[in-house]
Symmetry: C2
């Protein structure tokens, strides 16, 4: 998606060889018009997959997921990065280790929000090592529903995420694929 | 906003006399079409206030704030419920005590996202004791910017939030005002 790549070139800050900050349009300040175009793009990509719900993980995934659901006219669920306060049969949860932040989060989801008839589209802001997306697919499957596909706004293609998701059998579409962040420069795979 | 009140009547779960769960369209699963109508309503209410940015607090505020920014064609900032990892001159932060959850969160915001020219509209999903909204207004003022107004999706009018915000000099507009949650029933102020 050319417009997204231009915004990354112009406004992304390369922190080190693994970390890119896009805090001015995606992760802290959000550009709603760009998010809507991202939603339109995901809607085009996944229009043949009979999606019934969109799912993401709080907080940065909410904006692109909401706009995807808005364009596709589908409900959007955000899983929470928090252990349910009490052991609770109505909640599904799984552990997700963040390589970037070096912490393990429990992510959780109310069981009743998904049914075996659901075909769920996973949307996330970043794909790095794939832990968050894999955690979401696990919750979807535990609920008995199907994963319709995985849509990523920014993929760090030099990390393991895509390989791990594809090995698990999922189709992954990323709107911007970053080949490298070396020498303080963002290079995309297709340039 | 009649459609919102109907959804609360139909899908809201009264947990006790102080807590209403609307997890099926606002706080866990989101209805993007309803969120867009909420954004349109806030845009109408605040159209004379020369807003330059919309601000909210992660996570549940993001959806109504994003749609408000989308309709008003303005950037949306979400403050984070997390202490900056290192003492950092570029970050503003303040403490917010949640009466509902009985925890103190540090909420934070990158200083560079606001300037003294900004007139900022605060959007939040719930108004209870007003602590979250007051925390956001404090961050806005510390950045030297102005508060243009406060828009709330669901106000629990039997709690202190509105009084505290008005005493601090802010104008508060809520799309649904709940008078009571007694006897497992949602009563609105204007019925």
């Amino acid at each position: 998606m050319e417009e997204l790549k231009n915004r990354i070139r112009k406004e992304g800050k390369v922190i080190d060889e693994e970390i890119l900050k896009v805090d001015h349009f995606l992760n802290h300040q959000i550009d709603p018009i760009l998010m809507c175009k991202i939603g339109e793009q995901f809607a085009r990509i996944f229009k043949e997959t009979e999606v019934t719900k969109v799912i993401t993980l709080e907080s940065s995934g909410i904006a692109p997921a909401l706009m995807t659901g808005f364009i596709m006219k589908l409900p959007v669920i955000f899983a929470r990065k928090k252990k349910p306060v009490t052991a609770n049969e109505d909640m599904l949860s799984t552990e997700v280790y963040s390589f970037t932040k070096k912490v393990t989060n429990t992510i959780s989801l109310e069981k009743s929000l998904l049914s075996p008839e659901d075909r769920v589209l996973v949307i996330d802001d970043f794909l790095a090592n794939g832990a968050a997306s894999l955690g979401l697919t696990k919750l979807i499957k535990t609920a008995g529903a199907k994963v319709a596909g995985i849509g990523i706004v920014i993929e760090k293609s030099f990390q393991e995420g895509r390989r791990r998701l594809e090995e698990a059998g999922y189709s992954v579409c990323s709107l911007a694929r970053i080949a490298s962040l070396k020498e303080n420069h963002v290079s995309f795979l297709d340039e």
